[in-house]
Structures are given as C-alpha cells and as structure tokens.
C-alpha cells in the first residue's frame, strides 16, 4: 500500500511557490569572527543512471557487518562501517526517465509546474553555500561530465541557480586546478583597470536596456528581468573578486594535471582535486555530475551508459551492467580512502568533517522510485553509520533526506524544496 498520493500532492500543491520560499530568513548568516568552529563540508555526487536492481540494492535492513554487502556494494567492504545506504526514497517531481540529475538536488516539479514547459529551482548546494560558503574563495564548485546520454537529463551540472537556471560546471580537471591553485600574474594596477573596464561594460549594457526607446510588453519585460538579474550577479562576483584579490591562492597539495586525459583519468583527477579543494579550504561545497560513458570507454566496454541501463534486454548486457556497478563502487571506495588519508588546514580529518553523498534519482533501468542513496563521512555526528536503513514509508520524499542530512551537519535549514519533515530513522538517539 502506497502513500505516494499524499506526498506527491504536498509537493505539487507547493508547486512553483517552492521557489519563492524565503530561505534566507532561516539562514541568517553567522560569519563568526576567527571561525573557531571547525568547518563542515559537503560533497554531492550524482551518478546518472542507477544500478542493477537485482545485484546492487540490499533488501534486508541492518548493519552491513551483519547483513553483508551486496555484489554491487562489495568494493566498499573496507568502508562498510562508515557508509550508510537508505532505501525507499523517491525524488517527487522528477518524471524524466532519462534524467537522474536534473532535479536531483532541487526536488523541483520539472515538467508539471503550471504555466511552464520546464521548471527548476535552486539546488541544495547553493542553499548550503549561502550559509557556509561565505568564508571561502569559492562558495561552491560544480564539476560535471560533458557526455550525452548518461542518464543525467537536462542541465549543465547538478547545480541550479536561485531562479532555477542551469549552472555550468567545470568539465576539465586542468581548468579546475588552475581555478583553485593557479597564481595570478596580474599587478594591482592591471587588475584595477580590468575591473573598471568590467564595471563599465555592465553599466553599459544595463544602460541599453533602461534607456531603450522600446515600448515593451509585459512578457518581454519579464524576459529582460533575467538579463538584468544576471548582470547584478556578475557585479556581486566582482565585489567578491576584489575582496579576495589580495589573498594569495593556496599552494597545491597535488601536482598539476596534464591534458589529454581519458575518461577514467579525468575522473580520478577530479577526485584528487576535490579532496585538495577541501584540504586547502578553497571551498566547502562541491557537486559532481559524474560521467559514465567515458569511463566505460576507458574500460573498453562496447556499450554506452544508456544501452547498459536497458540491461534486461540481453544477458550480456546484464553482466556488463553488474560489472559496471562494481567498478564504479571501486572508484567511490578509492575516493573515500583519499578523504580518510587527508587532514585539512585546521588539522581536522577530511573524512570526519565532510558529508559525502552518492546517488541519483534513477534507481535502475528507467525507474524513478526507490532511488539509490548512499552517504558517508563524519559531517553529521548523529547520523547512523554502517548500515542499510529501509525507510518505513515507500516513496519518502528525497527532499526530506536532503533536509535531514543538511540539518545534521549543522546547517540551519527548516525546509527544503518539497520536504515534509525530517527522517528520524537516519539519526541515533
């Protein structure tokens, strides 16, 4: 017996007003002087198409030490007491059977929002960054694949702006390296000239808009509001650039990566750089929309991600799909190792201070219900670790999961997207 109807209606009623909820009020930014509280960090990995239903998802609830790990999760054996898998989550609002990432971190009602063919809203990483991203050079960093057909759906990364516009992610590890650690060769004078040019450009294009002789209709004005808004945001980013201009970028703990890289090398390099970004406290929030097909190519799989997701068509495909699951979990296990082996600039272990989330809103094949959700790391002290938790209600809103994780990691948020509450099953005591 399902309770989808109730949850779903809660979401849909909220409809497009979700966008307008005043997050900021509950997010009064506490910029504590000296930052004595050790920072918390968040990493969200979106994996597009899900996993092989029969061999990846555990069926019994309980501690992994007792119930053991499934074939697909086996590579995480050495981390089994530090990871948690949560079952019975569904991202309400996601309807695209090829879109595991479009509203994964937003929970928006993508295609059912009245008056819109496509709708999205702010993503969780951006919400979190408003509170904890203010003390670092980069409030958040979005990394992404460039492949098509990996089950991510529409969007340019996992991140979406407060207006629900797609935010492009960094696609090349070399670019990320330069953003994080590349030293600026510019003199103060050159910078001042560049920034004043930039300000004049922004003033200029706004002047075109404001003093245009055009008589515009209402719909046209709405469109131009998007343009204006983006100009305002760039102005803000200039202010931020000025603020950070005199702070040298940290020295890189890893060597500069070199192009060209194949899919697998790029993924591994991104993993190292994510850890390096946290380690140097360059950012505290990272999203990564992870590629599939380029990795499969590196492994010499002849089928792409979409073909593998239809694994029921043929026993060979199913075999490959299962193999794919295992290999991706090996990569994830390596990432967890990196976190465990690294301390941040405050001497705090990275694994202990970061919430690492892995998943998608696609389960397997093209199903959207019961999506894969794994978390790890010590970001939230009261979060249960080392077990498979089966939520009591089928189709528990994914937004409730996000809200619970976020709150447990100390971010003051009392509602997110279509959330209807928090999940007490995830916490101890």
């Amino acid at each position: 017996m399902s309770i989808t109807l109730h949850n779903r209606r809660a979401l849909l009623r909220a409809g497009s007003t979700v966008l307008a909820l005043p997050f900021m009020e509950s997010l009064a930014i506490a910029k504590t002087a000296g930052a004595v509280v050790p920072p918390k960090r968040f990493l969200f990995i979106g994996c597009g198409y899900g996993f092989t239903s029969e061999t990846f998802f555990p069926t019994r609830a309980g501690r992994f030490g007792k119930i053991g790990l499934t074939e697909g999760l086996k590579p995480l054996e050495r981390h089994r007491d530090d990871i948690t898998m949560v079952s019975n989550l569904t991202n309400l609002g996601a309807t695209d059977a090829h879109g595991g990432s479009t509203s994964y971190l937003t929970g928006a009602n993508v295609s059912g929002t009245p008056g819109k063919k496509f709708h999205n809203s702010i993503s969780l990483d951006r919400v979190i960054a408003r509170e904890i991203g203010q003390d670092t050079r980069f409030p958040t960093i979005a990394l992404t694949d460039t492949s098509q057909g990996d089950g991510h759906g529409a969007g340019l990364s996992l991140s979406w702006s407060d207006k629900g516009h797609p935010i492009p992610g960094v696609t090349n590890p070399v670019d990320l390296y330069h953003q994080l650690f590349g030293q600026n060769q510019e003199s103060a004078e050159e910078r001042e000239f560049r920034l004043s040019q930039r300000r004049s450009v922004l003033d200029g294009v706004v002047a075109d808009l404001q003093s245009s002789r055009r008589v515009l209709s209402r719909t046209d004005r709405e469109k131009l509001e998007d343009y204006l808004q983006s100009i305002r945001q760039i102005e803000q980013s200039i202010s931020r650039e000025v603020e950070w201009a005199n702070t040298a970028k940290p020295k890189s703990p890893v060597r500069e990566p070199k192009n060209p890289m194949d899919g697998l090398q790029a993924l591994k390099t991104f993993q190292r750089l994510i850890v390096a970004a946290f380690q140097t406290d360059s950012t505290r929030v990272v999203t990564y929309r992870q590629p599939i097909t380029p990795i499969l190519e590196s492994w010499d799989f002849s089928l792409g991600a979409h073909s593998l997701s239809h694994y029921n068509l043929d026993p060979r495909r199913q075999e490959a799909s299962r193999q794919k699951d295992v290999m991706f979990m090996e990569l994830f296990a390596d990432l967890l190792d990196l976190f465990k082996q690294t301390d941040d600039i405050h001497g705090q272990n990275l694994f202990d201070s970061t919430l690492i989330s892995y998943g998608s809103n696609l389960r397997s094949g093209h199903g959207l219900r019961g999506c894969p959700a794994i978390y790890a790391g010590g970001g939230g002290k009261k979060l249960r670790k080392g077990e498979h938790i089966v939520l009591r209600e089928k189709d528990t809103p994914l937004a409730n999961y996000w809200l619970t994780l976020t709150q447990q990691c100390g971010v003051s948020l009392d509602k997110f997207s279509h959330s209807t509450g928090t999940l007490s099953q995830l916490t101890t005591g």
């Binding site: 109807l5 309807t95 059912g112 935010i167 040019q197 200029g204 002047a207 209709s217 980013s237 029921n312």
Partner: protein
Amino acid sequence: MDHAVVGKTNMLSKKACVDRVVCSAVAVFVLICGTQTAAGQTASAVRLDPGLLRGFLRTHCVKCHGPDQQQGETRLDTISFEITNSDVALQWQEVLDVLNLGEMPPEDQRQPAAGDLTPVLAHLTDSLAESRQRLAESGGDIALRRLNSREYRNTIDHLFGLRVPDELLPADDIAGGYDTVGQDQQFSTYHFEDYLAAGKTIAGVALRWADAPQKQAEVRTSEPETRGNANLKKYIANYDRQMAIIKDGGSFADIGLDDQKQLDLFLKRYDGRAGARQRYLDQRYTDRGVFLVEAGYFRAAGSGNIGVDPRASWKFRAIAGLRPEAPELRQFLKVSASGRTLGWVRVSGSLDHPSTHEIEHRPFLTERLVRIDVSENKGDIPIRDYVKQLPGGGVQNSTIWVDRVEWEGPFYPDNRSVFELIYRRAFGSDGKPEEQKNAADRKTEDSAARGFFVALMREAFRGASPSRGFTRKLLDVYSLNRSHGLGLKEALELPVAMVLSSPSFLYLMEDGPGSPEDRTIDDVEFAHRLSYFLWSRPADRKLLAAARGGKLSDADWLASQVKSMLRDSRSWALSEGFFTQWVSLDRLQNIAIDETIHLGFNQGVRGSSQLEIQHLFNTMIQENLSLTELIDSDFVVVNDVLALHYGLNLPATGDSRFRRVSLPRASARGGLLGTTAFLAMGSNGERSSPIIRGALLMEKFLDRKPADPPPNVPELALASDEPQAVMETIQLHREKAQCASCHNSFDPLGFGLENFDLLGQWRDREVVGEIGNRKRSKEIPIRASGTFPDRDQPYRNLDEFRAGLMERRHLLLRSMAEGLYSYGLGRHLEFADQQAIDEICEAAAAQDDRIGDLIVAVINHSTFRRGDRR
C-alpha cells in the same frame, strides 16, 4: 484516441472531418469547452469522458476513496471531469500514475480486466498531455526571444562576414521545443560571460582585418612524400649504421643500449622496423606520393599550416588514386580542416591516372592557421578491426595513394562586410600602424568614434536607434582604454563586444502594442521576423527597403518575395534549423551503433546521413515540392558515400557535394522514410526498432505525438535464450494494459519499415539472436505488415504502408504546418491557434501540399503579424 484530434473536434474543417482519423482501438471522445477567465483570456478546459470513467471509478475506486472512506486523503466520487486548472489535472495524474504502476486497486481487491483498463489509461494519458499543454498557454504572446546559436552565427555573418564556430557561444536551451521559442530560453550569468567573450573575439578579428588589403588568389602544392620519405630513409640509415657497429663487433653500449637483452630485441626488430620501411619505399609510386593507412607510415596527407584571411574561402584539392584491389567501402577520403570534417570524397583514379577531388573551405574566425588533411574514411574503430572484415588485405595495406595536395585562395566575397564599410568610413583604410600616429591622428580618431558606434549599432540593432545612454557608455569605455594607452583598434574592441552582448542585439525586440486593441507589429519588424524565419538572419537591404516602401502588405508581392527567398541559398537555414528539429534528428546522436559489427556505419555514412536529411528538405524547398515527397519520392539527394551505401551503382562524382539523383522505378528508397538517419533513429543501436519507428511515424506523419512513457513501469524482460523476431518480442507490449494503452496505436505502424535495417539498408531476411554467433542466431524472413490504428486498416508491405500514409497526407500537412508555425513565430502552439492552422492547411492543400506554398500560407496568415498583448 488521436492526440492531434483531442481538443480539435469542434474546430476541424469540413474536409478534415470527412477523412479524419477515427481511432477504433480506443473509442474515446474529448470535448473542449472554452471558459472565459477574469482576465478575458480564453483558457480552454479539457473535458474527460464521464461515461468511460465514472463506471470505472465506481467499480474499482470509490469504496475506499469515496463518501465513506477517503483513504490517502483521496476522494474520487466528487472529482471533476473538466480539467480547468492544475489541481484537477494533478488529481487525475495521480489516478493515472497508480493505475499505470498497478498499485491500485490493491492486490487483495478485484482487478480490472485489461479490456476495461486499456481505454481508461489511453484516455487519461492523452487528456492529461493535452491539458498540460493547455495550462501552459500564454494567450498568443511571444515571449521575447534571444538569438539562438544558428541565428547568432548567421547574424554575425551578415554584419561582419565572419564565420563563428558554435563552441564560442552558449549552448542552446533544453526544454524540448524549437530553438526559436523564447519562452523556453534562459539567461544567466554564464550566458552573458559567454556572449561578452564571443563579442571580444569577433571584435578583435573584425578590427584586425577591417582595413587589411585583399590578397591575390594563388595556388600552392604540397608533395606529402617529400618530408615523409626523407624521415623513413633517415630512420633506415640510422638503424643500418647501428647494425654496422654491432657487425663490426661493437657492444650494446656502443649504440646507446643498456644491456644484452635490449640488443637482442634491437636485432630481432630490424626486419619489422627498418626492413618494413625499406619494403614500403621499394614499392612503385612511393617516390611520387604516399599510401595512406591508419596503421601505416602515412595516416594522412595534408597542406601543413596555411595562414588564412577569415574574410575569404579556400579551395582544397587532393590528387589521389586507388590500388586496383581496393574494396568499394575503402575508396573514400575524409577531408578535414584543423580537425573538423569538411566532407568525404570517393577516389576514382588509378595509380597511373589519379583523380582530382576539390572541396571548399571557409575558415572560422578563430582560425588564423588552417591545416587541411585527407585520410581514409573508416569506422570509428581501430583499423585492425575495420580491415579484418573487409577484403583488401591486412592492417598495413592501404587502398588509397595520394599524389599531392593543392590549395588555392583566398577567394573573397563580392562585397565588403557591413562592418568593414562602417570602419573604413569612420577611420579610413590606410591601415597606418599605431607607432606612426601622432596626437592629431588620435584626435581625429577619437572624434570619429561616436559616429562609428552609432552606425554599427543601427545595423546591429536591426534598425532601432541606439539610446544616448548606451552610446555614452561605449564612449566611456573607449576613453578609459585610450587613457590607458591602448591603440585605436584595441580601444574599440571592448565597446564593440558590448554592442554584441547588449539586449538590443541579443534579443529580437519588437515594440509593444500602441494600444490594447492593436497587436500588429510594424513592417520593419515583420521583415525581420520573416527573414529570421526563412534565413535565420536579419532582413537584408532589399527586404528592408520594400518594408519601408509599404510593399509587405501586398499579399502577391509578399508571396513572390517569400518564394524568391526560399530559392536563395540562405534558406539552407530552414533545413538546418527547422527541419532537423521537426525530424528530431538529435535523437540520432543518442543511438550508439556498434561499428565493430555494423561496418557500413562508418564516419562518412554517419555524417552524410545527417546532411542527407537537410539536403532532402532543401531540395524540396528549392523546387517547391509537395510534402508527400517525404513519404515517397522518385529521387534521393546523396553524396558519393550514400550512393554506395544505398547500392545505387552510380559513377563517382569525386567531390563531396550532394545531388539529386533519380531512382530506378523499382527502388524502394525515397522520401524521408528511406533515409539512413530516419531509419537509424528508429533503432536501438543493435537492431531496427519498430516501436521507436512507430512512435516517430505517428508523431511526424500522423500528427499525433505519443505521450512520454510513464516512469517506473518496469521494463519488459526481453532477455531470452531463444532468438526471437522483433515482432514476437513486441507482442508482449500488447498483453500488458499499461503498455498497450499507447503502444497499440504506434507499434503496428513501425513494421512498415522493417525491410530497412538499422543502417537503412534493404533486407529481405534478418538475423535474430546473437549476431555473429551461428548457434545462437537464426535467419528469418522479414514481415513488413501491420495496421494503421485509426481504422484498423491492415497493410501487407512497404508499398501499402506508403499508400496508407499518402491517404493520410492531410495529417502530414498539419504536422508540418504546426511545426513551421511554432518555429516561425517563436512560440509554442496553443489551443487558440487551431483555427489558424486549419486555414493555413486549407490554403496549402489547395496547392498540392507544396512546401513553399505552405510557408507562404504561414507568413500570409494574420497571426504572423501579431505582437503581444499589452
């Protein structure tokens, strides 16, 4: 129920009513009623069929979701059958979802029979799709639209005479409608950053060349063997020298090796390395050209870097011949410029009498140097996998020999670009270097800057006057740059980039209405609308002059103007922009065809098949042909690659061009239905998929878009140890009500094309099971029979299938009319547009459904001149 018919029942013209599709599989009627809202806007509700639904609800739902119990807070006995708002739509959506998932009725309750469930699911699926669209309507307002990347490229070409590569621009949006629809476009900071960066690049190149003299065209030649052979000889000489040292009793250390083991290897490899090179050089013809092969000594032959003028184009020629034993599939050269493929040419000459192959290239503005290369066209797989399946020998055996390559240029267009003229008028054309300028020169330049900006903006803003405020800001930036010691061109670059990132340039602005009653746009705006529709670029001088002269209100003049614009080569934009989207050609990119198995799908075929779709439509546009040519035509438009792929047995033309070729009378090829791209789109990458083909056919040719598959319905487990025919596996679809409700209507359509395999090649039999594994596969004859769902009308073969589509040509006309209307206006089709579509179809039907006349009918319709509400 026919999606297209839903909601149009009371609007259909008489003609359409007579032979309208009446779906017998599911006899459902959806009535439409218009309700006036407070705003005076007509929001039309979709009415559900109470007769069908009420009984079903009463039997299966109301016990738990009715007056006595409201389990799950759901009550269905009072639910409205008129979908007037999204709340009602959502309630029904929930009902549909639980039925689709089989969650309701609960397992312990009586389950509905498939015969009862299927019509309910079909009716709800269609009605909800319709209501979703209806609820998103805007009353015919066209949301302000931004130049999409094609329009931006063409607009820059119009102004600057420069070619913009797509990667310079932000990617187009994602919402699924035409790329001209402003409602779906987004704008965020990265758009602005990308436009500003693109603007700087364009401005920089345009300024650098604005006063540069044009050069005389000249021919250059490169003999690829000259350097290549020298390198081979050097390698051999070096190996021989080291061998001589060893023969003279030298040790491994004497030739720079570490130990005896390395030396053994060195000796062992002599024949494979130096010997093989010598044997290559000993062949005839190697002293005059090179044998190309991926794993050989010459993968490609090329021009080396050519310094180019971005205002001009170049002609490139490869002079090549074939080895006598070259199999047909290995007779093609791929020609590329700096890594971008320009086309494919079929070599026809011999080693003694090589043939010449010419291809033209217009460099992108980002290319200062261009390197043109020819290499063998092949599958996107290692050469060893490719050649082992083809006759013609081993990995090292090349089939094509390149004698030399030539290039000729620059060739300039007849007229200087708009930008060049404006620049030269303002600042002269003497191109005086900055270091020779004095204070007086600079003063003259500074005083000319305002005029330059204003003239540029008039052109860039499509005739609208620039505001004083913006002009002042441009001058501010210019002065700021000058005060930092920048030269004229450097100082102009950023202001020009600002013009190209300003709203007046990026958005196709039209003035709002003068009064609430009057929604007509003015003639200049209309001219630009027209030009962006047909050419994806601003109106040219001639059209603007006609607009200012009031000629556009003359319907006959306009019709002939449209026809002449369609005959112009710039109407390629319609084929590239509109038609590829109408066909959903982007789906082809998501089909991963395993080239190790399907050798015929090499890079040339894949690339050409996408172009073929556009050339087919372009030919129809140029010749004003009937839309029925999409169903069947007695010609194809192909290049040499596809001529071979289709087995047409034509002599090679030797160039990369597509041309119209008449088909033999008995040929099954022809129309969109016979193109590789369309047929490959209708495959799952391994075999043809009648399901996907059926859905495509229904959407494109029967004007009825199947609803998206409901999420979460478990996939049919098709895995079977027994090789099965596609038809048998699909049978499963029809046994399950949740699938059958949609699939019943389109699966049986897809069989009509079964004689074409996934690569679009003809077949009478197909191999099923594991391809390449004899034990686990078998060969069975093709059955291309099925039914048209509307009248349960059976067809037995491709001919009858085509005849059936011909009978329904009015649906193809409507489908195309709706597409053109939405693309041309830049907005989604709305309920209130049905009448306009009826009228347009009627006008075009009177002209035998000719594409040019259809386009004229769209443009001549009053909605095409309508602007927004106030």
